[in-house]
């Protein structure tokens, strides 16, 4: 798997929030990686997740499916999935699918992480 296709997962400094950084393209060949990382976070009882989409310029339906794959379980456990640094093509996609009404989007990863303090 090339570097531009890898998801990276880290935690906020206080360890409460899981931050997943997405690659340039999130499509069929890689979206299972995102799905797996989110599932892993939930299994570790980490229900506050931030998806950093700074690099992401393309996403297909499998990528969108992965983004929402843990939305009910995180919210029912007091957490959420929040997006940071979302680029225009993805904003458009979220609009078409009405997922813009589900996801809170933030300009920076830090503000997305801090939003869980409120």
């Amino acid at each position: 798997m090339g570097g531009d296709m890898v998801f990276t997962k880290k935690e906020s400094s206080d360890g409460r929030v899981v931050i997943i950084e997405c690659p340039q393209r999130v499509r069929l060949d890689v979206s299972s990686g995102l799905r797996a990382l989110m599932k892993e976070a939930v299994e570790q009882k980490k229900f506050m997740i931030v998806i950093d989409m700074d690099k992401t310029g393309f996403m297909d339906s499998t990528g969108l499916g992965a983004l929402v794959s843990q939305i009910a379980v995180t919210r029912s456990n007091g957490g959420d999935i929040r997006l940071a640094r979302v680029k225009d093509p993805i904003v458009k996609l979220l609009g078409i699918t009405h997922l813009n009404k589900i996801f809170q989007c933030f300009d920076s990863v830090q503000s997305a992480v801090e939003s869980y303090d409120n």
Partner: protein, 613 residues
């Protein structure tokens, strides 16, 4: 050809002309009076009477004779199962989609499904047929009226009466734009988009988030028109009696073209009155009842079904008093409640709601669908589930790969209106490790609930073979409803349906068996008694008793993914003696002991236990 089912192409004016029975005349005039006032009502009735006379003159004597024998209580029976489909869901080379549909039906549905709801098959400009350009033509891409007639020789047909609105590309709307005085009152117009006050706007029930008024350039300047659903769907102005008469003319035309059931689409919004919610107003009910009066007079075997995606209480108001409005009402609360039961593993809400369902009358019943071309509406259960429960149900649908459509609440907020997902995907997660067989069993279990409940069951064609989400189509078409509107190549679909190892084969055969079993049971007649039992939180159960009380079926559906024991108490089955029950789906036999019946249910087990009363 059964001549008693088909209208003559030309009217026969040699016969004596139809006379409107005085009781019906009185009912019609009274309604017209309420809608338009006495003076206009008189003229409107004269035109209506003419339309009815013309319609009646198209009836062959065999039809008139047959109609005299028809019993309202037998309009719908256990043999009725409605297949909901677009005309072009299955496509093949060298044949119109309606011909392909007939071929599919002959090959896979014969002897089972007896009624087709072919979604709007008219020329249209958007909303997959629900923005009708010409009400009286068949979309040439689908076929012709001849193709409709061929289907009608073998099946009962349900036509859409998309009477709330027309396409912005229709001739009627073009005449309006062109300044034709005849069409100036055909639509609800305002001088500007801001003509409706914020207070009034807030009151108006909106099924969409689009703007209520859409501005158009006309010969006489800019005008804003009422568009409940989209800028391309222009609401008709039923305050203009000419609009009502035109739609009645079309309604009777559909009957002559073979409609056995008329589905009144979006009837909720048919009458708009500023200062009100503009939804299911009294005038809307009056118009629906007027349609019923007219059909009672000249086409008494044709039924009206209302499509009103509103709360359950408001929905069933379209039954009127049980004999003066719709003969069938979409049971809109059923799909989200069944979905909720399977999502949560708790049948509590479903059981409580079903136990309270009333038998409306021997001439009116529920349309028990789980899925259709639209999504799973959640408005109908807003007084049954809490807001939090509905929100969580919607989020679970997202997790299953579905989407949510929203409606405008009028106060700057939006809330879920419907869940866009195929039924198979709604209750089965494609990413799970479960086997196909296990997921198929869960799917069949969910479908069994609609099959056994009081009413007429409906199935959306893609569910016949367990269709999954088409999320790519959503992105391609920019429309979340596309997730459940995939079209199929005939050859490919037939291969899947004929291959014993494919899930499509397994789903279709198991559903087919369920359908064939159902249609042979008097206890599943819509008028057969229904008693819902509360056996367990993880099972849905009811007893149906045939009208002659001789046959009973205890239908139990496990909605849990584990094995469970349930006990049916003696008082429920009046089991003073030992009773032998036969599962009419599997042939298994069970016996009660000491009056009660103890059963072990496998995950998503379905039992239809029959015994003699």
């Amino acid at each position: 050809m059964d001549r008693s089912r088909f209208y003559m192409l030309e009217p026969d004016y040699e016969r004596s002309v139809f006379e409107v029975p005085s009781a019906i005349r009185e009912r019609i005039v009274k309604k017209l009076d309420c809608l338009y006032g006495a003076e206009i009502a008189e003229g409107a009735f004269r035109e209506l009477e003419r339309l009815m006379k013309v319609h009646y003159a198209h009836k062959p004597p065999e039809m008139i004779a047959r109609e005299k024998e028809c019993l309202p209580s037998e309009r719908f029976t256990e043999k009725d199962i409605i297949l909901i489909t677009y005309g072009d869901l299955i496509q093949g080379d060298g044949a119109h989609p309606l011909e392909v549909l007939a071929d599919f039906a002959d090959r896979y549905l014969k002897g089972g499904i007896n009624t087709f709801h072919i979604l709007p098959f008219f020329p249209y400009s958007s909303d997959r047929g629900f923005a009708v350009i010409d009400f009286e033509e068949v979309d040439p891409h689908l076929g012709s009226w001849d193709n409709i007639a061929v289907l009608n020789e073998r099946y009962k047909l349900m036509f859409d009466g998309v009477f709330n609105h027309v396409s912005s590309k229709s001739r009627w709307f073009q005449e309006f734009l062109d300044g034709n005085p005849e069409f100036q009152d055909f639509f609800i117009t305002f001088s500007t988009k801001n003509s409706i006050s914020a207070d009034h706007l807030k009151l108006i029930t909106r099924p969409r988030v689009s703007e209520l008024l859409t501005s158009f350039s006309t010969l006489t300047g800019r005008k804003s028109v009422w568009t409940t659903f989209s800028p391309d769907q222009i609401d008709l102005n039923f305050k203009n009696p000419k609009v009502l008469l035109k739609m009645i003319d079309i309604l009777l035309f559909y009957v002559r073209k073979g409609a056995d059931i008329l589905r009144l689409d979006a009837v909720t919004y048919m009458w708009a009155e500023l200062g009100t919610s503009c939804a299911h107003l009294e005038q809307t009910h009056l118009i629906t009842k007027l349609f019923r009066d007219i059909l009672d007079a000249v086409a008494p075997d044709v039924a009206i079904v209302t499509e009103t995606n509103v709360t359950h209480d408001e929905n069933i108001r379209y039954f009127g008093n049980g004999s003066d409005e719709a003969q069938m009402v979409y049971n809109f609360a059923l799909p989200p409640l069944v979905l909720h039961a399977f999502q949560t593993g708790s049948a509590a809400h479903l059981t409580k709601w079903a136990a309270a369902l009333e038998h409306i009358s021997d001439g009116a019943t529920y349309f028990n669908f789980l899925d259709s071309h639209d999504g799973i509406g959640v408005s109908p259960i807003k007084n049954i589930l809490t807001g939090e429960e509905i929100d969580m149900m919607a989020l679970r649908v997202l997790e299953q790969g579905g989407f949510i459509s929203y409606k405008d609440n009028g106060d700057g907020t939006v809330s879920p209106y419907e869940l866009n997902v195929t039924w198979y995907s709604a209750i089965n997660n494609e990413e799970s490790d479960e086997s196909d067989d296990f997921q198929i069993q869960r799917f069949i279990a969910s479908r069994s609930i609609a099959m056994v409940m009081m009413g007429v069951p409906g199935i959306y064609l893609p569910s016949l073979f367990g269709s999954k989400n088409d999320a790519d189509a959503v992105l391609e078409k920019g429309e979340t409803r596309s997730i459940n509107r995939r079209t199929y190549r005939k050859e490919h679909l037939y291969r899947r349906l004929d291959d014993r190892n494919r899930p499509a084969y397994k789903v279709s055969r198991r559903l087919g068996k369920m359908i064939l079993t159902r249609i042979g049971e008097k206890a599943f007649h819509p008028n057969a008694d229904q008693r819902v039992l509360d056996l367990s939180d993880t099972a849905f159960a009811l007893i149906r008793t045939s009208e002659d009380t001789k046959e009973k079926i205890l239908a139990i559906t496990s909605i849990g993914n584990g094995v469970q024991d349930v006990k049916v108490e003696a008082r429920e089955i009046k089991g003073e003696r030992e009773i032998t029950f036969r599962d009419i789906l599997s042939g298994r036999v069970f016996a009660s002991s000491a009056g009660a019946l103890s059963l072990t249910l496998e995950p998503y087990d379905v039992l239809w236990l029959k015994w003699s009363g």
